[in-house]
């Protein structure tokens, strides 16, 4: 049985390409998801994308010698909300964070694999991974599964050796997109692009960066039914990591 999946390729000049692929039958059987989906029965011409099964929104922004990474907190199964405290952002080490959007099971599997690989690296090299190196690692791990991918889009944010912030995002098969200002992913990504573009300015200090990223996140997820239920924001400077929970519209 064929399954159609939309793969989002990284934007160039903010325009996006959609590719509909028919994947081989060894792909996991998500057809039961489609059959039980309310969307499918009402409008069979628009199959539900598997990236929209759980709902997510992740954004990272660069500031002056600091960075911020934020995500929403909803875990849903299509239209139903299961939990409002789901962790999408994980710390790899004190200066590198990864936020994973997309299918929650792959978020958890990929996180476990990446932590394992980083711990091995720490044992061998006796130091932490640089953010650029970590991004290459994630890209390689995702491309390994080119023809049966992990259905997640990671957002990686870190501080380099000279305290220069680094952010990047990639699609589900590891195509890296580096940015100087902000990166977004998830079901609310289109709204996030707009909000970040409008609110961002370069070289913000930590407190101002926190305000900006929080407002951008909350206003974007308010326009997306599949993400929301608050926000989780990490502000990372060379000296401290501040974690804050946002309370927004709880719906």
């Amino acid at each position: 049985e064929k399954e159609e999946v939309r793969l989002d390729f990284p934007p160039s000049h903010r325009r996006r390409l959609y590719l509909v692929l028919s994947l081989p039958s060894t792909f996991p059987d998500f057809s039961s998801v489609r059959k039980s989906s309310k969307l499918y029965s009402e409008n069979p011409k628009f199959p539900m994308s598997i990236f929209e099964y759980n709902g997510s929104a992740v954004v990272a922004m660069v500031g002056k010698n600091c960075f911020a990474i934020a995500s929403d907190r909803r875990l849903g199964v299509q239209l139903q909300t299961i939990a409002t405290d789901f962790q999408r952002i994980s710390k790899i080490h004190d200066r590198v964070f990864i936020g994973l959007s997309g299918l929650a099971t792959d978020v958890q599997t990929l996180y476990q694999r990446l932590v394992f690989r980083h711990k091995l690296y720490q044992l061998r090299e006796e130091r932490d991974m640089k953010p650029e190196t970590f991004a290459s690692l994630v890209s390689a791990i995702l491309y390994e599964k080119r023809f049966g991918p992990y259905l997640c889009q990671p957002v990686i944010a870190g501080l380099g050796d000279d305290n220069k912030p680094f952010i990047c995002t990639m699609d589900s098969i590891g195509a890296k997109e580096l940015a100087k200002d902000f990166v977004v992913s998830g079901t609310a990504s289109e709204s996030l692009y707009g909000a970040c573009e409008a609110m961002y300015k370069p070289d913000m200090e930590a407190e101002e960066l926190f305000e900006t990223i929080s407002q951008a996140l909350l206003s974007s997820v308010d326009r997306d039914c599949l993400s929301g239920w608050g926000g989780h924001v990490y502000i990372v400077t060379p000296t401290e990591i501040k974690e804050r929970i946002l309370k927004g519209r709880m719906d």
């Binding site: 060894t26 792909f27 996991p28 059987d29 998500f30 039961s32 759980n54 875990l75 199964v77 139903q80 299961i82 939990a83 789901f86 299918l103 929650a104 099971t105 958890q108 599997t109 049966g148």
Partner: protein, 204 residues
């Protein structure tokens, strides 16, 4: 459709499941126990394809016992839940199990806990969870009446409210439910809520 739901109270966790074994339009039996006692202080309420449900939960149960025999101490609820998720995740891209699981357990260090494990291996620790069409009714009822640290009596009242809601509003509502509880004294049957008793066959 199979209804499974559960919640965490003050030092205990309760799970309830319907007890109908259905094959297309035929009801094979209405006293099928879908909540397995994993070990002395853990319960697994499973819903999904019948073969997968029984096979997978038995597989998890035997592996949990094996750990206890090998290492002399039982697994914690979190560890058992993560093991279950790992097995589901590994099988997901080969031959997936269609089983949704609510794992309830009691540990001396961390108290009572409830884990929601999807059939595609999404794991999350929750205070209240539900699967199936019944979840549309039971989750909303629990959202309205649940408080953290409920007593056993209050929790059973809430479970009964959910069962009543499912019975009155779900078109093919299951007639019977089983309720099991796990607390510091162990995992055990609490009650059955039966509106239709199985007809005993005549002895020939």
């Amino acid at each position: 459709m199979e209804c499974v739901f559960g919640l965490v109270g003050n030092g205990f966790a309760i799970v309830a499941a319907d007890t109908s074994a259905v094959h297309s339009i035929l009801l094979h039996k209405n006293n099928e126990d879908k909540i397995m006692v994993l070990d002395s202080h853990k319960l697994v309420a499973a819903s999904g394809e019948p073969g997968d449900r029984v096979q997978f939960t038995e597989y998890v149960q035997k592996n949990v016992s094996l750990y206890k025999f090998r290492n002399g101490i039982p697994l914690t609820t979190a560890a058992a839940a993560n093991f279950t998720r790992g097995e589901l995740a590994t099988a997901l891209r080969k031959n997936p199990y269609s089983v949704n699981i609510l794992m309830a357990g009691y540990d001396n260090e961390s108290g009572a806990s409830l884990y929601y494990i999807d059939y595609i291996a999404t794991l999350h620790k929750v205070d209240k969870g539900a699967f199936g069409y019944g979840s549309y009714f039971s989750l909303s009822t629990m959202d309205r009446h649940y408080r953290s640290d409920m007593s056993v009596e209050e929790a059973i009242e809430l479970v009964d409210k959910c069962i009543l809601e499912i019975r009155s509003r779900l078109v093919i509502a299951p007639p019977n439910f089983v309720i099991k509880i796990v607390d510091k004294d162990g995992a055990r049957d609490y009650a059955w809520r039966q509106s239709v008793k199985d007809v005993t066959t005549a002895v020939v």
